[in-house]
Symmetry: C2
Subunit: 194 residues, 2 copies
DNA sequence: GCTAAGTTGAACGGTAGTGTTCGGGTTACG
DNA sequence: CGTAACCCGAACACTACCGTTCAACTTAGC
């Protein structure tokens, strides 16, 4: 630790730099989970030493970036109405969250690599519960199949969104079409009756 | 390049060491795509210098490991009868290939990180075509839905297998149950009629 | 406008990986 | 059995990253 960092009131420009650094960290880690501190600092338009003045280590920075992207997602998803037909709710959830999930999953991967095991799952627990509850409700109401465990259905949704994001990144898939394909596929996979 | 390496006839023990190194490379890279040359050499029970005697660089070694795992898979999958009902064929294909895919996908990721872009896709083209052809045949025969592009359906299968493997690795999913869950899910997702 | 808070580049030490060289030791194979 | 092929540990140079220190500079905020 090079600087105090424990002060309650910080100068305005310092606070602003912290924001710039976090933005840059999310951007860089989304593209490359192994992005170096130098690269992040440069992307933030800030010296490397300045960065270390605000974040004592790379691990702390990565965790901060992860919590930021998670809280951002939480804010965006908190306003959604998921109380109607589970199928419609799932469509809504996918349409307005798939890109977010895709982006955060890259940061999540970065965190997975450098944070103590379990820490990531701990931070990620609450956002994951929203999806899980929707799926369980759908199963209870007979809208989704119940012959497969809910945890698996959750996992399916997660992996399909990540996969679609990867396909978009490699140019195999058109970004605009992704939400429709994901919804169509997931809803078909969740449908009752074999 | 430290040694000739261009000789047609190699001593038996040298050839044997190459095999040991490739085995170790596949094992190590499956667990950690960033596995170091030292770790691979140690796992192979061989000196690091010996390894460099057979593979001039890490990249070459990774590519060799990838082609090995791909040809192994090719041998295993070549004997399968995929001519019947596309649904049954898909079940057979999943059951006997998902673990293989899961393992090779980690090596593939390692290759993706250190080989020139496009090279991986080039090597991976032939195995991917088998799946793609089965899916297209299923669409033509009306067994699989045709309202989504075949490339996407292929991608879905791929990502679900990778995801299931990841879940098994993290302990969220029982290895024995994976093939059934994948088959049930994919077949439901591929089913005709909305 | 003064001052403390903040920023900055240069530089250092430490770690880890890659690829290479060297010298001496083994061993396959004719 | 002899020799060439091969193996090996130690050590080297090189690169990249992390985290830190320092001394000088800029600037926010009273």
């Amino acid at each position: 630790m090079t600087r105090p960092l424990a002060k309650q009131t910080r100068r305005a420009d310092a606070q602003h730099n912290v924001e710039k650094i976090l933005d840059a960290a999310v951007n860089c880690l989304s593209r490359d989970p192994d992005a170096s501190v130098s690269a992040i600092a440069q992307a933030a338009g800030v010296g490397r030493v300045t960065l270390y003045g605000h974040f004592p280590s790379r691990d702390v920075l990565v965790e901060a970036a992860l919590t930021r992207v998670l809280t951002e997602g939480e804010e965006l998803l908190a306003g959604l109405d998921l109380t109607g037909d589970p199928r419609d709710a799932l469509r809504v959830l996918i349409r307005s969250s798939w890109l977010l999930i895709a982006q955060s999953s890259a940061v999540l991967e970065a965190a997975q690599a450098s944070l103590p095991p379990g820490r990531v799952h701990e931070l990620h627990a609450e956002p994951a519960r929203r999806v899980d509850q929707l799926i369980r409700r759908g199963q209870d109401e007979g809208a989704f199949r119940a012959d497969l465990p809910a945890s698996w259905l959750t996992s399916v949704l997660h992996h399909l969104m990540k996969g679609a994001a990867a396909d978009v990144a490699t140019g195999q898939l058109d970004r605009a079409e992704a939400p429709r394909l994901i919804s169509e596929t997931v809803l078909a996979a969740y449908r009752v009756d074999g």
